[in-house]
């Protein structure tokens, strides 16, 4: 069965290794943090646990985006919205857990509602005092939004740039909406000052380690699910829609449903990432809806290698580690570095680190894909004259001569 395939297939060894590493990390890092004395060399300080836990959530988000972008060609510039919605659902649960320990000591209303003179809890806050309900919302709210949004967009065949821009409009509209204090989500300040999750203090090292482990395990699970999805016939179909959407239609497939399923699954994954993220960073606010955040997620996936499973994870970890390092060491220059990375990756590493690694190592499959591209000429500076220039910027980096994205805007 699927698991049999999992262990048997040599080409998928990378996935197996990734999952094993993630599971191992989920066990070892908390151990090194909790059981090793801080003076020992192997001790992992708590802030590293919190930091890497955060990165793992970003990695999950990047993986979610990659499912739709890398495998289905839908460049969503609004995935941050799903992430944030999942985060808000978790944040609302955490807010309710504060109970009477808020500064005003109101057992029902969160602090921000008290000083904004709310008399009672808005209806959409009901139920969030139960973890299971919040967990359900983490899945359903982003999923439902993606489903409704995707249902409209894909059915009307909004593709390519148009889709990217309306996803951006979606997250921008949500940003503005959540900024409004009248919405009852804490406005600009968002939700913060969390105390407990499932009865454990969110500040405690043990809870942090547990959250870290949960993130790692969830990511491992997501890797497995993505791998299984992508490897199935549906996965082939997904890529077929990416490469030649009209062909799939004339074969009788409903391309809109194919996309919608991937989009919804991806949104749910992003929502889970957000839900894991919030207790680890201790705040969720509308800033997460910022369109620039969503664009940054795209670059994580691009750096690591889109259309691969391991790539987005590597990309998210590397870029964020770089960001942490740069903002500490060279704060004035970190935007130059990030901007330069965007440009360099799109120009020089269109397949990302993993894709580059593959062609470097002469991975058989990648070589086959590249052979045609090489025929077309490998010099990125001078596009071959015999091809239409616009589509001829094909470089060794491309998978093939056909553009993996939907058609250009013209």
């Amino acid at each position: 069965m699927i698991t049999g395939r999992f262990f048997a297939a040599g080409a998928d060894r990378r996935i197996a290794i990734t999952i094993l590493i993630l599971l191992a990390v989920a066990v070892i890092v908390p151990l090194l943090n909790l059981a090793v004395s801080p003076t020992r060399a192997f001790y992992v300080p708590s802030y590293i646990v919190a930091l890497t836990g955060k990165y793992l959530c970003y990695a999950l988000l990047a993986l979610a985006l990659d499912l739709v972008w890398g495998y289905c060609g839908i460049l969503s510039l609004g995935h941050g919205a799903f992430f944030a919605l999942g985060g808000y659902a978790m944040g609302m649960y955490l807010m309710r857990q504060i109970g009477a320990r808020g500064v005003y000591g109101n057992p029902i209303l969160p602090d921000f509602m008290v000083f904004l003179n709310y008399k009672e809890l808005p209806w959409f806050w009901y139920g969030f005092d139960h973890f299971w309900f919040a967990g359900l919302m983490v899945l359903t709210v982003p999923g439902l939004l993606a489903f409704v949004f995707g249902w409209f967009a894909f059915r009307s065949r909004v593709t390519g740039v148009y889709l990217s821009i309306i996803t951006q409009a979606m997250t921008y509209a949500l940003l503005l909406a959540f900024f409004r204090n009248d919405m009852g989500f804490g406005g600009n300040n968002g939700l913060t000052d969390f105390k407990d999750i499932l009865g454990f203090n969110v500040q405690a090292d043990a809870t942090r380690s547990a959250l870290f482990a949960a993130s790692a395990v969830t990511l491992a699970l997501a890797v497995f699910v993505t791998w299984a999805t992508v490897g199935s016939k549906y996965g082939k179909l997904l890529m077929a829609v990416r490469d030649a959407e009209s062909r799939t239609r004339f074969l009788g497939w409903r391309a809109e449903n194919v996309k919608l399923f991937a989009f919804t699954v991806s949104a749910v994954m992003a929502g889970i990432a957000g839900a894991l993220y919030v207790p680890q960073v201790g705040i969720i606010n509308p800033g997460e809806f910022e369109p620039s955040n969503s664009i940054e997620v795209v670059i994580w996936a691009a750096v690591g290698g889109r259309g691969t499973i391991v790539g987005p994870i590597i990309g998210a970890l590397l870029v964020n580690a770089g960001k942490s390092w740069f903002t500490g060491v060279l704060p004035e220059f970190w935007l130059f570095a990030l901007g330069g990375l965007f440009v360099a990756v799109t120009l020089l590493l269109p397949k990302g680190i993993v894709g580059m690694w593959d062609s470097w190592r002469g991975n058989a499959k990648a070589l086959r894909a590249a052979s045609l591209a090489e025929e077309a000429g490998t010099d990125p500076v001078a596009p071959p004259p015999q091809k239409i220039v616009r589509s001829a910027a094909t470089k060794p980096g491309d998978w093939s001569s056909s553009s993996p994205e939907p058609q250009p805007a013209e």
């Binding site: 300080p45 708590s46 802030y47 919190a50 930091l51 009477a100 320990r101 808020g102 500064v103 005003y104 000591g105 109101n106 057992p107 029902i108 602090d111 921000f112 008290v114 000083f115 904004l116 003179n117 900024f179 409004r180 204090n181 406005g187 600009n188 300040n189 968002g190 913060t192 000052d193 969390f194 969110v202 500040q203 960073v281 201790g282 705040i283 606010n285 800033g287 590397l318 580690a321 770089g322 942490s324 390092w325 903002t327 500490g328 060491v329 704060p331 004035e332 970190w334 935007l335 020089l348 590493l349 680190i353 580059m356 690694w357 470097w360 490998t378 010099d379 990125p380 060794p396 980096g397």
Partner: protein, 436 residues
């Protein structure tokens, strides 16, 4: 070509590895210096305000080192960039405290950044100095609020407008950016105005989004509201970037300060530097400091600043003074405690009194807020403020507003034995209002 790509990949991977190594390299624990964290955004939307504060802190630290440092050690500034990203504020705060082992952190701007780092400071038990005016409704053991609470800015400002000198204003527009500070401030002001006998129909409240730039409709609504035959004023809690287009529109639509004055709480010298102030002469701002204040301390501060920043045109502003006060208080408290251990310093802070730049002393109160004079200034053609009113004495920051129903019974006192940020005088218990 292929070769080239491999080289690039190699270089890339090499740099990634190098970056990783640098990251993981343990911070060299230098025992001969005391580290001070500076947590201000140097990029992103907040950089416009916060970069100046970072420079001001560097200057203060330089000066202290020139005076021989602190406890016989040199001070060392650790600057990080939280990039106007709130979760990054928390991450950077954690990094400053855990990795760099700073003795105290000066930073944040806007409540959300402060709220996002609060848990970090209380968990890791360190000190944050927050230099910006804010909405109050908070008092944390690990935070010292050197900016103004609403009663140190908003209420005296409204008092001035109601006075004869201020034009005996009868009708009020509360115009703000839609976030917590304006919301809370306006709630407090509404309650305050109503308590002073202003009718509900004489108050108009309006909110706009961050970075709002098309003010035509709002300004004409103000004009309309102001034509009811009563003296009208605007109390503006409009934030940052949105101010320039707001004032430009006011000027162009011919709203003169003599007719409808605008009293702002977030417009300082720095914001005015981006504006031609000639059409705005007479509009007001309430702060605890103006660059134009004529005292020897201020003159020296400005001269030092210009020298440090190597630009005579750079202005000083209220949050800079707040850092000036906060930093000097911290220095004094450390000297008093004889250690930089945050626990001891927090206790030593209360009661510390240092000169402010407006010719008096500011004292740290038990509620972790400070005493300050409140100045009302009118915008001048040269981009400065002219002080037109000044509270007779110092005003003590009131963290829990008396004009909000849920906080009027609360007080904060961080001295032993009370040691509580939200003590309820009605119930005699620490921990807020209790049941609703």
């Amino acid at each position: 070509m292929r070769g080239n790509f491999s080289t690039i990949t190699k270089m890339f991977s090499a740099s990634v590895v190098a970056a990783g190594l640098l990251m993981s390299a343990p911070a060299r624990a230098a025992d001969d210096t005391i580290k001070v964290g500076i947590l201000h955004s140097l990029s992103g939307t907040m950089a416009i305000s916060e970069t100046t504060l970072k420079d001001a802190m560097l200057m203060l630290i330089d000066e202290q080192n020139a005076k021989g440092g602190l406890l016989g050690k040199k001070l060392e500034a650790v600057v990080v960039d939280p990039a106007s990203n709130w979760p990054l504020f928390a991450e950077k705060a954690r990094e400053l405290i855990s990795k760099d082992k700073v003795a105290a952190v000066f930073g944040c701007w806007t409540s959300v950044s402060r709220k996002s780092v609060l848990p970090v400071f209380s968990e890791l038990d360190n000190i944050l100095f927050y230099p910006v005016q804010y909405e109050g409704e908070e008092s944390e053991r690990n935070v010292f609020y050197t900016g103004a609470a609403p009663n140190q800015q908003a209420i005296p400002a409204v008092d001035y407008l109601m006075s004869e000198d201020g034009g005996s204003v009868k009708r009020w527009v509360l115009e703000g950016t839609d976030y917590v500070y304006p919301r809370t401030t306006n709630k407090i002001l509404e309650a305050y105005l109503k308590a002073k006998g202003v009718a509900a129909e004489d108050i108009m409240v309006n909110y706009t989004p961050f970075g709002f730039s098309d003010w035509q409709t709002e300004v004409s609504a103000i004009k309309k509201f102001g034509s009811a035959g009563k003296k009208t004023a605007v109390v503006s809690t409009v934030n940052g970037d949105a101010n320039v287009p707001f004032y430009k529109e006011l000027g162009n639509q011919g709203i003169k300060a003599e007719d409808i004055p605008v009293m702002a709480f977030s417009v300082g010298e720095e914001e005015l530097a981006g504006l031609d102030t000639a059409p705005l002469v007479g509009h007001l701002a309430a702060w605890n400091y103006f660059e134009s204040v004529d005292t020897p301390e201020n003159k020296k501060f400005i001269a030092d600043w210009h020298k440090f920043i190597k630009n005579d045109k750079r202005t000083t502003n209220d949050p800079m003074e707040a850092h000036y006060i906060g930093f000097n208080m911290w220095v004094k408290a450390v000297e008093k405690a004889g250690t930089t251990d945050p626990d001891k310093v927090i206790d030593a802070m209360i009661g510390v009194s240092v000169p402010n730049l407006t010719g008096g002393y500011s004292t740290m109160m038990p509620n972790h807020h400070i005493t300050k004079p409140v100045l009302i200034g009118e915008i001048q053609a040269d981009g400065q403020f002219e002080t037109v009113s000044r509270t007779p004495g110092l005003v003590m920051g009131d963290e829990w507003s008396d004009y909000l129903p849920d906080s009027k019974d609360l007080i904060s006192d961080w001295r032993a034995p009370l040691s509580c940020g939200n003590f309820n005088v009605a119930t005699g218990k620490c921990g807020g209002k209790g049941t609703n």
